[in-house]
Symmetry: C2
Subunit: 117 residues, 2 copies
């Protein structure tokens, strides 16, 4: 069993197709988690993640702030307590058009299950 | 893509070896999530989950309140922002000895990856 406060995990900058985005790999295969990884992302006001798609899913849960997710069919606003399933191969981008940091959990499968970290 | 506020998902009681515990399956294979499921648990003051073990992992993130997780080696206090990896086959129990609801995310693999829901 491993217990850690997410702020104790080093924050890494996400780039180069993102702006103002950092990620903490709070639980990952490096900790002995076999199936998937739990990351916490933070997007600064005006920031955004890459607009991209990939064969693995995302399962997202908003912790703080407000933001949006953009898909091929448009934009959806997100706030604390909202969850998002991004299905495999679905185009997506998260962004923070607001004035305070936008923070969310994003779970992805490990490499053994198709994630190309 | 599916977007939902977790409070819009029906809350189910957890039993019979638990007390004062409810769960919302916020994202699951029923939504087309291939690999794993994101659930939100709430434990009332004095409540607890089953003391058990199973072949699949848990990845937990505390959203609100305070509680604890018990393993074979003792008890660890948990508060908002703390994450817990419960490894496969590890004995565990979550409990709320506090005075306010204890709420956390718990991610599990789908049946295809070994979870016996």
């Amino acid at each position: 069993m491993r217990t850690v406060h997410y702020t104790s995990v080093a924050s890494e900058s996400v780039g180069p197709e993102a702006s103002g985005v950092s990620v903490r790999w709070v639980i990952s295969d490096a900790d002995g988690a076999p199936g998937f990884a739990l990351r916490v992302f933070e997007i600064e006001p005006g920031g955004y993640t890459p607009r991209h798609q990939h064969p693995w899913e995302h399962e997202v849960f908003v912790l703080a702030g407000e933001g949006c997710v953009r898909s091929a069919s448009g934009e959806t606003r997100l706030s604390e307590g909202t969850a998002v399933l991004v299905e495999p191969d679905e185009l997506h981008q998260f962004a923070n058009p607001g004035g305070v940091p936008f923070r969310f959990i994003c779970v992805v499968p490990n490499a053994a299950y198709g994630h190309g970290r």
